[in-house]
């Protein structure tokens, strides 16, 4: 590794540690720890949402997928972006008006039972762990490639850093690490895209013309079909992407860091512009890598195509740009896993320990202590799982996390806010059915079973043919919510009127004052 690369890495690590030190002095209450005291502005939270959302799967994964499969790689960019409309139109403002720290807070604003809270916390922790294993395994492999250090050291390094941010700086440190990462990621992406466009004479039309002959696929590169040949599988994946985002706990949690629904709204607008611009640029990253690095070299570095963006940076900007982009990828991973640790800890410490076990009778000091212990617990579990999963192909766990979020969380969120008749039985049925059906269907899917050894986790014929079960599990979650509701006589319209008034007007978000 060169001096330049080392300096970029040390620079980023130092900057994030300074942020954490600064944030630690501002983190004393539970509200500070989980929501940065609710004091973020619209643009700050918008950047932090982008930093929380744009994972290494987005940056390195999509660039590689577009490079290798042309348009088929770009499907992800479209799904990940349009998902923000679901967040904005259906979820963001009611969530802000009803919740406090977690998704379970929002659902229990209507159904205040330990069962509902426990089920919501279980779903959150499941999503967080799957997402985290995928991120950490990816991070380990990537840093191994970028820095030439062993996988287990890389996982421990990332695991250690994320724990430090969350443990000492809580949501304030996590948010600012995400904001810095979003800026660095955009800077890196814009620079590479500019250089790619320059190679094509600053003409989009010229770029497409050259790309139609630049790869071995010829004109087929510019059309769908190189990777996704099964229609139902493609549609199912696209459903998971667009509906999953609005149920992802670490994204939902970000809406509690702003003071009111109006600020939540403006943060989604900021996030949508930044995330959207980034996804447009994934075209340049992918096309550039295909044209100026070449399929062979990309595949040789990493069969999944994850090295496409760093290799492109090297081809166009030399060692300095390559080092910068690698450091940005590192920052990207850190910001995402820190957000995941925090949302996992909130479910474990606030929902399960504070609200269910201690029934809400915990002092401020105990809450913060519990939050810190919860963060360490989530971090240690995911590091151990990631170390064990090194040789497994776990990239599909990211789309599984989206699928569970869309199947288990989204139906309950929507019914809680918009359906008068909905009740406790319906809420638990919807969450458990969505969660369990997604898990079972994936465990018998081609991601887990493949007749060819090494292609999946187990050798054998899959029982269920869709790689992503969203097409089945999302409707199951919604239907189970309806059936569960109708099977129970419970029907508290008075409570719904309260929820509806709060969600619609934002009244009582502030503490009642006397």
């Amino acid at each position: 590794m060169s001096i330049v690369a080392v300096s970029f890495f040390v620079g980023i690590v130092s900057l994030t540690l300074v942020i954490t030190w600064w944030a630690s002095k501002r983190t004393s209450s539970a509200s500070d720890f989980y929501t940065a005291g609710g004091g973020l502005t619209g643009w700050q939270n918008g950047l932090a949402i982008a930093g929380d959302y744009l994972s290494a799967a987005s940056f390195l994964g999509i660039a590689g997928a577009v490079a290798l499969f042309g348009f088929d790689g770009f499907f992800f960019s479209i799904g990940y972006l349009v998902a923000y409309l679901v967040v904005l139109y259906i979820v963001a403002e009611p969530l802000r008006n009803l919740g406090k720290f977690t998704l379970a807070d929002m659902i229990t604003a209507r159904f205040n039972t330990a069962k509902v809270r426990g089920t919501a916390a279980l779903s959150t922790i499941t999503i967080v762990l799957f997402y985290m294993i995928a991120q950490l395994v990816g991070a380990g492999a990537l840093i191994q490639l970028l820095l030439g250090i062993d996988y287990w050291i890389a996982v421990l390094l990332v695991g250690f850093m994320m724990t430090i941010y969350v443990l000492f700086g809580g949501m304030t440190a996590t948010s600012w690490v995400q904001i810095v990462k979003a800026c660095l990621l955009m800077l890196g992406t814009v620079i590479i895209s500019f250089l790619v466009l320059k190679e094509f004479g600053f003409s989009i039309s010229q770029m497409f013309t050259e790309m139609s002959t630049a790869t071995e696929h010829g004109e087929a590169y510019l059309n769908p079909g190189l990777r996704y040949t099964d229609g139902l599988d493609t549609i199912s994946m696209m459903i998971a992407l667009v509906l999953g985002t609005a149920g992802l706990p670490h994204i939902l949690m970000r809406f509690f860091t702003v003071k009111d629904a109006k600020t939540a709204r403006s943060s989604v607008i900021w996030a949508t512009w930044i995330v959207g611009l980034f996804y447009v640029l994934t075209i340049f990253l992918g096309f550039g890598a295909a044209a100026f690095v070449g399929t062979e070299k990309i595949l040789a570095a990493n069969p999944a195509g994850n090295m496409a963006a760093p290799l492109l940076a090297e081809a166009l900007g030399g060692d300095i740009l390559m080092s910068f982009v690698s450091a940005v990828a590192f920052a990207t991973i850190l910001a995402v896993v820190a957000g995941l640790v925090l949302s996992g800890a909130s479910a474990l410490s606030h929902d399960i320990y504070g609200q269910i076990i201690k029934k809400g009778k915990v002092s401020e000091k105990e809450q913060v202590l519990a939050a810190r212990i919860g963060s360490i617990t989530i971090a240690v579990i995911s590091i151990v799982l990631a170390l064990g999963a090194q040789t497994l192909n776990v990239a599909f766990l990211v789309s599984l996390a989206f699928c569970i979020a869309g199947s288990a969380n989204l139906p309950v969120i929507i019914y809680t806010i918009y359906w008068k008749r909905f009740n406790t039985t319906g809420a638990i049925s919807a969450m458990l059915t969505g969660l369990i059906s997604a898990l079972i269907l994936v465990s018998v899917s081609p991601n887990v079973w493949n007749p060819v050894e090494g292609k999946a986790i187990f050798v054998g014929e899959p029982l269920f043919m869709l790689s992503n079960p969203a097409l089945v599990s999302v409707p199951l979650g919604f239907i189970a919510g309806i059936i569960g509701t109708l099977l129970s006589k419970e029907n508290d319209e008075k409570k719904y009127r309260e929820v509806n008034v709060k969600a619609t007007t934002g009244i009582s978000v502030q503490d009642v004052s006397h």
């Binding site: 972006l81 949508t272 709060k502 007007t505």
Partner: protein, 113 residues
């Protein structure tokens, strides 16, 4: 504290009284009608893309130079996303005003017996 939209502080909130206000019912109807109509539209526009690419080759045709229809459709989805974001903000600002008016009406004694 002065009435400032969503930041209103109230002593005790009688939610049933607010929910019974005709102005509140009208706002909920107007707001939810808008949200779900637009949501249905963008979800259909979105899911039409993988349906078209999976079962037809209609988007494989070159539309502008060597740029094929599928890229144009995707660009449309991006523009739609940004456009609908701003449409939402414009509409939500009017809902904010309506909500503030409802809270004010409630504070003046509206809806309570």
């Amino acid at each position: 504290m002065a009435n400032q939209g969503n930041n209103t502080k109230v002593d005790v909130v009688d939610y049933d009284a607010i929910a019974a206000l005709p102005s509140f019912k009208a706002l909920v109807k107007r707001k939810n009608g808008f949200l779900w109509t637009v949501t249905a539209i963008f979800l259909i526009a979105y899911i039409t893309l993988p349906i078209l690419t999976s079962y037809t080759t209609i988007l494989h045709q070159k539309v502008w130079g060597d740029i094929t229809g599928v890229w144009i459709y995707s660009a449309g989805l991006f523009i739609m996303t940004w456009g609908l974001c701003h449409l939402y903000v414009a509409r939500a600002n009017t809902y904010d005003k309506a909500a503030a008016a409802i809270i004010e009406e409630y504070k003046q004694g509206g809806g309570r017996l």
